[in-house]
C-alpha cells in the first residue's frame, strides 16, 4: 500500500459529486508532480478501497478522467497517467486559473487595489514558502 | 462425522432397547396353561372357559384358560380391553351380534331380551318414563325391534304398559304368531314404602299394531302369610333366545322376621329373611296360559351346598352339590313325573373336591380338583354318563407352578 500513498484519500466534501472530487484529486497530484506522467493508476477497486468510496464512483471518476484524457488505457494493460504534455500542461493551467479565480472572487468583495494586492501576495507567498521549508527540514 | 456416529448410536440404542422389550414381552413370561382332554371327545372341551387367578410373585393375575391356551388380563392390549368393556360377556348375544351385526348395532349393550326363531329376531327393551323431576312414575313402554331374517327388513314398535308397576325384570319373551308374550317380574307400583309380594305378569303385544293386552297376573296358588315372601328366578335354559314352550320359574320361599328391636329406625322396616328349604317350580305354558306347579321335596336343614335348576329339553333338573357329592334329580315336562336320579361322589369322579358347575346342552360340567390341579368332568344329563374329562396343564411345566393357579369360575360357550 505504501507505494500507493500517492493516492491516499483526500477529505471529500459531501456536496460535490464524489467522482469530480476524485478527478480533482488526481489533477492536483499531477500538477504538483506527486503523480508522474506515465505512472500506472490503481484499479478502480483498489482506488475505491483506498479512498473509501463506492467502486462505482471510482469507475465513474476513471471514465471522466479518460474522457478528459488524463489517463489512458491500452488494451488489457492497467491504465496510466497520460504522457501527453499538452494535457498535463492544461491541467496545471486549469488548476491555477481555478485557484486564482476563487481568490479573486473573495478579494474583490474587499475592494483592494490591484497593485497593493500583488505586493501583498508576493510577500505572503515568500514568507509561507520559507516557513514550509523550515518546518520540513 | 462424530456427530453422525453418536446420533446413530442413540437411535440404535432406542430401536434395540424398545424392540427387545416389545419382543420379549410378546413372548410372555407368564406361564401358559390349557385344558387337556384326558377322556372323551376333545370337542367337548372346546366349549369350556375357565376364569382364574394365577399368583405370580406379588401379583394376582387374572387368567382365562381354554383348550387352546391361556390369556392373562394384563397381557391384553388396550384395544382388547376396550372391546371387552363394550361387548357383553353373554354367548347368546355374541352369537346374535356375529349373525346380525346390522340389527344388533347399538342394541347389544343395554339390558334387553331377545327371541329368535327361523324367521324372526325380536328384541324387547323396557323404557321407563319419568315424571318431570326424574321421579319414577311407574309407567313403562315396551320398545320392540324386529328383524325379518328372510329379507333383512327391520320393524320397530312401542307399546305402553297399561298398568302402573315397578318392573324388576323381563323374565322372557316369546313370539306366539303375531303377538309377543312378555313375562315380567314386577311389584305393584307404590310411591314410597315397602313392596308387596312380587308378581309375575304376562302381557301380549300385537306385533301388527302394537296393541297391548292387560297384564295377566299369574296365580302361584300360594297363600303367603304376612311373614312370608317368595323370590322368583328364571330357570336357566341352554339358549335364552330360543323359542320355548314353557316359562320355567323357580320360587324360593322365604320367611321374614323383624330384626331385634333397637335396630329399627323410623321409616325402615328391618327384617331378615330366612330361606326355607322348600323350592317350587312353576311351569307356565305360553300357548294355553296354564300353570303347573312342581313342589320339590324339602331339603334337609343340614344340607350345606349349592342348589341349582336347569330347564333341559323336555325336563327340569335340580342339582344339589356339596364339595363331596352331586345329586341330580330330573323331572319330565309337562307331567312333572320324576325321571332319573343321578348321585355321584367326588371319589366317583376321581376328584378331591367338587368346586363349581356349569350347564350345557344335555351336559353338566363339574369343575373340581384332581391331583391338586383344576379339572373338569362333563356328565350327560340324560344318561348320567361321564362323557368328557379334562385337566388344566401347564404348557411349559418348568416355568409354571400350577399350585399358584386358582379357578374362580367356569363358563360354557356352545
Amino acid at each position: 500500500m505504501t507505494e500507493r500513498d500517492d493516492f491516499a484519500a483526500p477529505a471529500f466534501n459531501h456536496r460535490d459529486p464524489v467522482y469530480l472530487q476524485v478527478v480533482r484529486h488526481f489533477k492536483i497530484g499531477i500538477a504538483t508532480g506527486r503523480l508522474s506522467a506515465g505512472q500506472t493508476v490503481p484499479s478502480r477497486r483498489e482506488l475505491a478501497a483506498m479512498m473509501k468510496i463506492n467502486p462505482n464512483t471510482a469507475q465513474r471518476a476513471y471514465r471522466e478522467m479518460e474522457d478528459q484524457g488524463l489517463i489512458v488505457t491500452e488494451g488489457n494493460a492497467p491504465s496510466r497517467i497520460t504522457t501527453d504534455e499538452k494535457v498535463l500542461g492544461a491541467i496545471r493551467e486549469e488548476l491555477i486559473t481555478e485557484a486564482i479565480d476563487n481568490f479573486i472572487d473573495s478579494v474583490r468583495q474587499i475592494g483592494v487595489p490591484i497593485n497593493e494586492l500583488l505586493e501583498k501576495i508576493r510577500s505572503r507567498y515568500e514568507s509561507k514558502t520559507a516557513e514550509d521549508k523550515g518546518a520540513s527540514s | 462425522m462424530k456427530r453422525y456416529f453418536i446420533a446413530a448410536i442413540f437411535v440404535g440404542f432406542i430401536v434395540l432397547a424398545i424392540g427387545l422389550y416389545l419382543g420379549l414381552a410378546a413372548a410372555s413370561p407368564l406361564p401358559s396353561f390349557r385344558i387337556e382332554t384326558l377322556e372323551g371327545d376333545s370337542e367337548e372341551g372346546k366349549a369350556l372357559r375357565l376364569m382364574g387367578i394365577f399368583e405370580n410373585g406379588p401379583y394376582n393375575e387374572t387368567v382365562e384358560i381354554t383348550a387352546e391356551g391361556s390369556k392373562y388380563a394384563v397381557e391384553r392390549s388396550v384395544y382388547e380391553r376396550f372391546r371387552y368393556s363394550l361387548t357383553p360377556d353373554i354367548p347368546e348375544l355374541e352369537r346374535l351380534i356375529a349373525a346380525y351385526p346390522g340389527f344388533m348395532r347399538g342394541k347389544y349393550f343395554s339390558s334387553a331380551n331377545y327371541y329368535q326363531d327361523e324367521e324372526w329376531l325380536v328384541r324387547l327393551r323396557v323404557q321407563d318414563t319419568y315424571a318431570g323431576s326424574g321421579i319414577k312414575e311407574g309407567r313403562y313402554k315396551f320398545m320392540v325391534d324386529m328383524l325379518d331374517k328372510k329379507n333383512g327388513q327391520k320393524r320397530s314398535l312401542a307399546a305402553e304398559v297399561p298398568d302402573r308397576l315397578d318392573i324388576r325384570k323381563v323374565m322372557d319373551i316369546q313370539k306366539l304368531g303375531d303377538t309377543l308374550a312378555v313375562a315380567l317380574l314386577a311389584y305393584p307400583f307404590q310411591q314410597s314404602g315397602f313392596h308387596d309380594i312380587a308378581e309375575l305378569r304376562i302381557y301380549h303385544v300385537s306385533l301388527e299394531n302394537g296393541q297391548i293386552s292387560d297384564g295377566e297376573k299369574l296365580d302361584f296358588g300360594l297363600n303367603l302369610q304376612a311373614n312370608q315372601d317368595i323370590r322368583l328366578y328364571e330357570v336357566s335354559v341352554p339358549d335364552s333366545t330360543a323359542s320355548q314352550k314353557y316359562l320355567l320359574l323357580e320360587a324360593t320361599l322365604l320367611e321374614t322376621e323383624p330384626m331385634p328391636a333397637g335396630n329399627a329406625s323410623n321409616n325402615v322396616r328391618l327384617e331378615r329373611t330366612i330361606p326355607t328349604r322348600e323350592h317350587r317350580i312353576f311351569i307356565y305354558e305360553y300357548e294355553t296360559g296354564k300353570m303347573n306347579t312342581l313342589t320339590l321335596p324339602s331339603v334337609s336343614p343340614e344340607f350345606d351346598g349349592n342348589i341349582q335348576f336347569y330347564g333341559d329339553d323336555g325336563g327340569i333338573v335340580r342339582l344339589m352339590m356339596t364339595g363331596e357329592e352331586i345329586h341330580l334329580s330330573r323331572y319330565r315336562l309337562p307331567d312333572l313325573r320324576p325321571d332319573n336320579e343321578i348321585q355321584l361322589t367326588a371319589a366317583d369322579l376321581k376328584a378331591e373336591s367338587l368346586e363349581k358347575t356349569a350347564w350345557g346342552k344335555d351336559r353338566l360340567y363339574i369343575l373340581h380338583t384332581a391331583r391338586g390341579l383344576p379339572a373338569v368332568t362333563a356328565l350327560e344329563l340324560s344318561s348320567g354318563n361321564v362323557v368328557y374329562r379334562g385337566a388344566v396343564t401347564a404348557a411349559k411345566a418348568a416355568s409354571a407352578n400350577p399350585e399358584n393357579l386358582r379357578i374362580s369360575y367356569m363358563t360354557v360357550r356352545p
Binding site: - | A17, S77, F109
Partner: protein
C-alpha cells in the same frame, strides 16, 4: 434428506446437555433410591429379628412375608417416579421451547433457520423427529434401567426375603409405567402414535401463534381443543358403533388430524410465519 438429518442432529445437539441431565437424574435417583430402600429394609428386618428373636431370614419370611421389588420401590416411590415426572414435564415444556427458543433465545436463530435454502418444512420434521427421539430415548433408558435395578435388588436382597418378579409384571401392574412402557407392541404404537399426533397438533398451534401472534394463539388453543374433542368423540358413539368401528374411526381421525396439522404447519411456515 441429508439436510434433514443435519437439522435433526443440530436439534439433538442443542438439547443434549439438558437431556443428559435428565438421563443422569433418572439413573442416579432410581439407583440411589432403590439402594437406600433395600438398605433400610434389611436394617429394619435385622432390628425386627433381634426384637422377636427370629434367627434366620427364612423364618422371618415365614412370619412377615417376603418383600418384592415392587414393595421395596414403593417405600420410596418418589425417588423412582420423581425423575420420570421431571422428564415428562421437561419434555412437555420442550415441545414448546423447541420452537420458541429460536425466536426468544439470546440470538434469534429463527432468522437463520427460516433462511436456509430449500423447504422450511424440514424444520418441522426435524423438530418433530427430535422430540420423538428425546421421548423414546428416555423410554429406552428406563427399559434398560429397570432390569438392571431388578438385578441390583436380587444382588442386595437376601434370597430368603426376596420375591421374584419379571420386569413385565412390574410394568404391567405399575400405574404409570403401564402407560409409559406398554409391553404390548400394539399399545406401545398406540400410545406413542397418539403422542406423535398430539405433538404435531401442538406444533401446528405453536406455528399459528407464531404467524398471527395473539389471534394465532386463540386459533391455536381452539385448534388443540377441537382436535382433542374430535379425537375423543368416537368414544361417545358406543351406542351406534361396534368397538372395532370406534377404534377404526379414531385411527382415521388421528390420521386426519396428523395430516391437517402437517398441512397447516407447512402452509404457515411457507407463507405466514413472522419473525
Amino acid at each position: 434428506m441429508i439436510r434433514y438429518i443435519k437439522l435433526v442432529l443440530m436439534e439433538l445437539h442443542r438439547f443434549w446437555k439438558i437431556y443428559a441431565a435428565l438421563a443422569a437424574i433418572t439413573v442416579i435417583s432410581q439407583t440411589a433410591g432403590l439402594w437406600m430402600s433395600i438398605r433400610s429394609h434389611i436394617k429394619r428386618v435385622h432390628w425386627e429379628m433381634e426384637l422377636t428373636s427370629i434367627g434366620t431370614y427364612a423364618e422371618f419370611a415365614k412370619t412377615y412375608g417376603r418383600t418384592s421389588f415392587r414393595s421395596i420401590v414403593s417405600f420410596n416411590e418418589l425417588f423412582f417416579m420423581g425423575p420420570v415426572m421431571i422428564c415428562i414435564a421437561v419434555l412437555l415444556i420442550y415441545v414448546f421451547l423447541i420452537w420458541y427458543r429460536d425466536w426468544y433465545g439470546k440470538n434469534a436463530f429463527v432468522y437463520r433457520l427460516l433462511m436456509l435454502p430449500a423447504s422450511r418444512f424440514r424444520l418441522f420434521w426435524a423438530k418433530l423427529t427430535a422430540i420423538m427421539l428425546f421421548v423414546l430415548g428416555l423410554v429406552a433408558l428406563q427399559i434398560v434401567l429397570l432390569p438392571l435395578l431388578m438385578a441390583m435388588y436380587r444382588q442386595m436382597m437376601p434370597a430368603e426375603l426376596s420375591l421374584a418378579e419379571s420386569v413385565f409384571s412390574y410394568v404391567r401392574h405399575h400405574i404409570v409405567f403401564q402407560i409409559l412402557l406398554p409391553p404390548h407392541a400394539a399399545d406401545f404404537f398406540l400410545y406413542y402414535g397418539l403422542g406423535f399426533v398430539a405433538v404435531t397438533v401442538v406444533f401446528a398451534a405453536i406455528l399459528m401463534e407464531r404467524a398471527w401472534r395473539l389471534k394465532g394463539l386463540i386459533a391455536g388453543i381452539l385448534y388443540v381443543s377441537a382436535a382433542t374433542l374430535v379425537m375423543t368423540f368416537p368414544l361417545s358413539l358406543d351406542y351406534v358403533l361396534y368397538p372395532h368401528e370406534i377404534w377404526g374411526l379414531m385411527g382415521g381421525i388421528g390420521l386426519v388430524l396428523f395430516l391437517a396439522s402437517v398441512w397447516i404447519s407447512r402452509t404457515l411456515l411457507a407463507k405466514k410465519i413472522t419473525v
